[in-house]
């Protein structure tokens, strides 16, 4: 349990260090993600505990958003003025993003080794 948590924290810490010292404009946690990916590639072994810890965090992540969301208490004027605009822009952007993603993925599939639906048995 604690080795998995330590791995996550050390990756994040190193990410923060790189972010601050090397002025890499990526958040420390994202650099930590990349470092963890590197570590998983370098040290190959089964890691059931890491999966358990990240699974637990993901399953209970909503509560971690609560304090930031309460910050809307200070944004009342922005929301009354732009609330509908935010909704409209986000809805249109969501539709566009899905259509573009699907179109590009389907188009680029022809260049891959799994162009059709045969892949399903291979999973």
């Amino acid at each position: 349990m604690f080795d998995a948590l330590a791995l996550l924290l050390v990756c994040q810490l190193l990410g923060e260090v790189i972010h601050r010292l090397a002025h890499v404009p990526l958040p420390g946690a994202i650099l930590g993600l990349l470092l963890l990916l590197l570590w998983l590639g370098l040290v190959r072994k089964e890691r059931p505990k890491l999966g358990a810890v990240t699974g637990w965090l993901t399953a209970h992540i909503t509560i971690l958003f609560v304090p930031a969301t309460v910050g809307l208490i200070d944004e009342g004027s922005v929301l009354t003025r732009y609330g509908i605009g935010i909704a409209v822009a986000t809805i249109i952007s969501s539709l566009l993003t899905m259509l573009v993603t699907v179109a590009v993925f389907r188009w680029a599939l022809r260049f891959s080794s799994l162009p059709d639906e045969r892949w399903e048995e291979e999973l």
Partner: protein
Amino acid sequence: MSALFSLPLFWIAVTVLVFEGAERISRATKRHPLAQPLMIAVPVLMLALHVTHTSYASYIQATDFIVFLLGPAVVGLAVPIWAQRKMIKRLALPLGLALAAGSLTAMISVGGLMWVMGAPHVLITSGLPRATTTAVAMALSEQLGGVPALTIVFVAISGMMGAMVALPMFNRMGLTDHRARGLAMGITAHGFGAARAYEDHPVAGAFASLGMALNAVVSALLAALLVLTGW
């Protein structure tokens, strides 16, 4: 009494307690989309701040411990990416191109639309990471100079769109490829999209969580480019 309201422990306890209550309501309504724990807990906590005359600044300082756990959660996104490395390798080109195109579309379209509406710079900035998973969106928003609370509004609407509109739209389009369906839902609607995709088909679910995790990285890179160009 006011000394109590300045204790971090007090606000951490209240936040966990209120959230647990909201969780129970959500479960009792069989996870109705309008009874999401976040949407129930947040107004209750706002009321609590109001009643106790506590400023948001002192509340966010007190609950730092809760917010802190977002970091390890973001780092943990490496796990689903690593688990699907074989699929990533085999579909590297279509995945890479679709991610780049999807990520760019999400950012440019929401930013452009907010700009056309005359929104202030800080609001446009807050909307840019809307398609990423909430923890990442908050980090990117902060880095770009946005307001995480406003970002969460964009992220939540994105999630609801992905959960409610995506599948009916794909069915009407005649799109049957579960990979494409899942990927699109994960890229534009993060965890909400992934959850809905899993209900639809396991392959769609796997591609949605992959799309969500990879989009976090791609969007962070795009945000870094914005920072370097002096956003």
